[in-house]
Subunit: 323 residues, 2 copies
Amino acid sequence: MRKGNLMSFRDDIKVFDATIRDGGLCNNFNFTDEFVTELYKTNIKSGIDYMEFGYKASKNMFSKSDFGKWKFCDEEDIRAIVGDNKSDLKIAVMADVGRCDYKTDFLPKTESVIDMVRVACYIHQIPAAIDMIEHFHQLGYETSCNLMAISQANLDQVTQALTMLSASSVDVIYLVDSYGSLYPENALELAQVYLKTVENTGKKVGFHAHNNQNLAFANTIETLSYGVSYLDVTVQGMGRGAGNCSSELLLGFLKNPKYNIYSLLKFSEKYMTQLKRDGVTWGYDLQYMFTGLLNRHPREAIDFTNAKRTDYSEFYKSLLENY
Amino acid sequence: MRKGNLMSFRDDIKVFDATIRDGGLCNNFNFTDEFVTELYKTNIKSGIDYMEFGYKASKNMFSKSDFGKWKFCDEEDIRAIVGDNKSDLKIAVMADVGRCDYKTDFLPKTESVIDMVRVACYIHQIPAAIDMIEHFHQLGYETSCNLMAISQANLDQVTQALTMLSASSVDVIYLVDSYGSLYPENALELAQVYLKTVENTGKKVGFHAHNNQNLAFANTIETLSYGVSYLDVTVQGMGRGAGNCSSELLLGFLKNPKYNIYSLLKFSEKYMTQLKRDGVTWGYDLQYMFTGLLNRHPREAIDFTNAKRTDYSEFYKSLLENY
């Protein structure tokens, strides 16, 4: 059943800005401090609820010299931007199962400016994800589980994973369309499975879209209108490959007057325009449509983009041959 | 009620390529004969059902020296491309109410290679549109009525217009989201009103989308899944302002094996890439999102684009001031 209509607003909605984290996959997290600071201020002015600063990646696995600082999100780096974060905007970071040192790299919440830790995993990593979630919960953080590549998981496994998560301390369970392959009809069906599982648990459901088939915004508002409440966006859709649901589209759609797009436009025209001039690329294009359509990881499409190829038909044929 | 699902296909679907007509608004209809010929061949290979060649505009009102030939669609110009059109692809042209000489400029169907005439009008022009439709029907053509700017019409008037059209000889009634301002929820509600009105008349309902809010494809498949059957597309979404629903996205979605995207990609990589290199512009951008969001004509956004402005926040503010 629809949870609202175009003449109402729901105050359970949380708009979650993932620009630095998902957008960081386009530029190896090499944002200037000015960019991140201005985005932080912009998010506050725009009424955004959460801002993700990046990954807490393992320094044993990844070298600090290969990435910008937001791959690691050291406490002091976040504080250099937000101070003690005297605002209503909550601070989040992402921790990938198997690619972070979660036992050592997180302070107790009382000593950290971070509010939420999002644990990203594939379906077979659910047991590990739950271990991490319980650890972060013990430390005092809000937690989410971001179950990736959902379009490739089988429904039995998804149901089992959701049952396990429902029994855990996790606060938010995210449906993540990593490959941008869901149509609104699929996204809604899956969202309803998630929503049903968390009924009466107090847990929330989130949606993270990719724009491979130009459906990131459409899928977001489709799932939203049936009860999904944590909605990931990025400024101008900046994110890996075809990118994500655009902040401006979602804020334009939402009827709650706390959200407004004007500050976002000021930020966009200065900083996003500059990023594009600097050659950072993302967004809908044919090669990403193909991988979305074929329900697979965008890596070959990203290579195609980086090689500045335009032989779409050959590329499509090669994907079909490796189906 | 849904008319199908993601594991079925409906053979009442007609995919309608409007590239030359709506795309012509981006380049004053100055396509080369090679472009139009190759698009015609591509449409045949791709399984497209109709191809619109352009407008039949009044030569009294518009000068042939100001536009490419597809603003006028002379019989001999179409025949220079298609011969006698020995194919399953049907040929269409558009006639605007008040901007064509319909009594003099159309041959009887038996002497023409044109199959369908689409009559475009605003809601207050319905009586004139019906007069034209009856004329074209008498001449032997299939006809459609493309009721534009539907997001600004009031529902009482729409219902009255639909009742009048139901009693006419028209074959297809189009819901046209000229301003790209409909969300899938709105598009569906309107489509259901259209579908209800034509029930048991044998008439069909079509949808023509604009991509101002990145919803052209989403709205098309939403209305499709509830019974709309004539679906307008353009190659790479080429069309006025933010453009239309992309042929490649829709053909990728449709499950009927008669449709395939490979030929379309061959065409795109050669001809659409060249058009873009030549500086022809269309597609989603912030300025079009604003006019879609505010439910108004994109003309100011097109001026903004042509002036190569990037001061999005000022532009948005100016639109709000003239709301």
